[in-house]
Each structure stands twice: as structure tokens, then as C-alpha cells.
Amino acid sequence: MLPPFNYFRPVTLNEALSFLANEASRPAFILAGGTDLILKMRSGRLPQDSFIVDISFLEELRYLRTAKGNLEIGPLLSHGQISTSREILDFAPLLARACSEVGTPQVRARGTIGGNIVHASPAADSIPPLLLHDARVTLISLRSERTVPLISFLKDAYKSDLHEGELLWKITLSPLQGFSFGYQRLIPRQAVGIARLIVCVALKTKGQIEEARIAIGSATPVAFRARKAEAFLKGKEASPDNLDFAASLASEEMIEISGERWSTPYKRPVLQALAKRALLEALSGSRGNGEGEN
């Protein structure tokens, strides 16, 4: 048994939004897959008299579609669904790959991409690949709707910018046509674990590097794009020296954000090595090995 709370199950999205619009008069918490929220409920960290708004029955939030060349993902799709979806494997192979790394099969069957984003863990696996696709999130409330870049929706570790009465209802990805991919994820043991470092790379090459995108997760309170390394690589030859230098820039960017810490002597060379590996993997024309993962 969990500590007591009140339970509300909306039948439509509109009903959910109407209920959330009265949030000020009663603390309300959105429940999707529950793999983060139920832990919080269990530890008694929810105010008494809280309402749990169970959106897990809202089929309107479980969709996948393309619009104007972009991919739109409904927040209720589970990590399991995302990692095995043909469309996502084609459009965003690293997102499929990353979701296949989340927790265990049991957690992937329940945990949703919307919950992963709103919970905003520094180690959230779906976020770095979404940053490669310049993802936007659309928040909807009874009276308004706004779309913001994912990177600005993530304010700090475990703090997303969800306003009172709002629900995340769309995640939009831009295409990465003609890119190849690299993916590195460091965990403390061989299988099943929260990532210590995540590096996602997308490269477009034509003789030289036309465009590089590098997203790094789990190293800083909020995942980030290594813009200096990306800018350095643009128009450069993919020589070992250039890759090494880009990888060291990415590592420096991490330290600029998080400052020198007790873990820095470890993380600096490790991130550099992982970034290099991911770049090499992308250069080999890889799709990030998202294929066939569960």
C-alpha cells in the first residue's frame, strides 16, 4: 500500500485539462507510466490530499505521426514502443537506441517518453538524442498552448518548466537526413543501470564534415549540445587530430558548465574518449545500432 491520495481518471484530454486548471485549489500530479511518480508517492513526498490525475488511459496521447517532414511523438508512448517502432528506427535511430537502454524490460514497458522529459533527470536517456533532433515540446492547458525548444524546457536537474495546469502533449523532432550516428553510454556495470555519461553524435560528411551535432547527457544537471566542438568540426577534415581536438572541446564544455568537481579528473578523459568513439562510429557510417533492440 502507498500513502493515501485521491485518484482522478479523465476520460478525455479536455477533461484532464479542466481538472488541472483547478490545480491551485488542490495539488494535482499527472500520472503516466508511474515509474518515477510512484516512487515519489511511496516515499511520502506528495502533499496530503493530493490528486493523482491518471492520464494513462488517454489514447489521444499515444500517437506517432509525421507532419511537414517532422516527426511528432505522443507523450504516452513507452520506451518499449519507441525502441521497436519502425518509424522511429528510421527517423531517429538514436532515440530508439537510447530508449532500448532505459532500465529493464519491465520499466520500458511502462515508462513513457513524456514522463522521462518532465521528470528531467540529468541521466534521462531520451533527452540527448532528442537534442540532436532540435526537439520542441508542446505544452497545453485549458486556455493556452505553447511550443518551446526542449533545451529551454529543461531548467535544472529534476526541474522542467511545466506551468500550473499544463500537460505535455507533443514532442516534435526535425529530420536528420543524410546523417550517420554514434552512441556511447557508460554505466557502472554490464547491464541495467542509470547512465553515468551519454554521448550522442550525428555527422553529415561529404569529403569533409559538413555538419556535426553532439549531445551529452548525465554529465551536467541538464544535458547539453557541445556547440564549440560542433562549430570546430564544421568544414574540417575528419582527421584523428581534429576528432581528438573536438572531443577535448566537448569535455571542456562539460567542465565549464559544472565547474571543477571531485569527479572531474575522472570525467574529463572519459568523456573525451567516449566522444571520440562516438565520432568514429558516426564516421564509419553507422546508424547507431538502434536496429532490432528491444
Partner: protein, 158 residues
């Protein structure tokens, strides 16, 4: 805290229940339906002892609110065999002595069942991956993996 009416199928039997929202599916299975095969280890999604199937997927029943199981098809370890007849997975676990204390076994069996529903002919790699959500602190995993392999082969025969 108001009770919630739910209707669900557990091991092919339909139930209409009134549950408290703060009951987890795990609590309803064990306390309301007295299906105590499903175990609670950690209660936080890490050990997998509470694994059951919901609509064919292995899930941690400690991380599902009972009202979220409304309308769903649940299978627990009690629903694996048929009456006195054990399921090939259960037979293989006994043959390979794939347990000692047995606390993880219901979870292992249900995770393996979910695997065989999706991949009837799994590789060792598949088995390791699909069982990765259940922890065993006694046996060592090799016997368990061997048992699942053999069960898959047995099931292909029938």
C-alpha cells in the same frame, strides 16, 4: 480517499473489484485475490520479484496502481501452468534446479514467459536481456538461462 471500481482479467478469470487507489496491482493480487505467488522484494522497480504480465508485457506490479489495471489482462505465475500441469518453463526450472530460495522465481518465470510470447526462438543474448529486470541473490543465473533455453525448445515441439 474514495474506492475505485475496476474490472480486470487475472489468469483468464474476470473480476470486478472495488480497490483503494493507493493499492498497487501487487497488493490487489496478493491481498484481495490471495494470489501470493507474486512477491514483493524491493517495491521500487529494481528486483523484478513482482513481475506479472499486463496485456502480454512483463511489468513490475509494484509500480502499477490497481486502478491502472482496469480493463487489462493480467497473468501471474499462478496462471502459467494449467491445473496440475506445469508450464514447460516451470518443468525446465525444476529440471535445471534454477532456484534455491525461490523468491525470484515467479518473476523470472513471468519475464521468461513475456520473452517467449514475443520471441519463441530466443538466443542466449535475448534471454539475458529479457531476464535482466529480475535479480536473483542465490542461484547464479546460468541455470536459469539454461532452463529458459530448454523450455523454448520444448515448446517448439508441441
Amino acid at each position: 480517499m474514495e474506492k475505485v471500481k475496476i474490472k480486470l482479467t487475472v489468469n483468464a478469470r474476470e473480476y470486478e473489484l472495488e480497490v483503494y487507489p493507493n493499492q498497487r496491482l501487487l497488493d490487489v493480487l496478493r491481498e484481495n485475490l490471495h494470489l501470493t505467488g507474486t512477491k514483493e522484494g524491493c517495491g521500487i522497480g529494481e528486483c523484478g520479484a513482482c513481475t506479472v504480465l499486463i496485456n502480454g508485457d512483463a511489468v513490475n506490479s509494484c509500480l502499477v496502481l490497481a486502478p491502472q489495471a482496469d480493463g487489462k489482462e493480467v497473468v501471474t505465475v499462478e496462471g502459467l501452468g494449467q491445473g496440475e500441469n506445469l508450464h514447460p518453463l516451470q518443468e525446465a526450472f525444476i529440471k535445471h534446479f534454477a532456484f534455491q530460495c525461490g523468491f525470484c522465481t515467479p518473476g523470472m518465470l513471468m519475464a521468461a514467459k513475456a520473452l517467449l510470447l514475443k520471441i519463441p526462438d530466443p538466443t542466449e543474448e535475448d534471454i539475458r536481456k529479457w531476464l535482466s529486470g529480475v535479480l536473483c541473490r542465490c542461484t547464479g543465473y546460468q541455470q536459469i538461462i539454461d532452463a529458459v533455453k530448454e523450455a523454448a525448445e520444448e515448446m517448439k515441439k508441441c
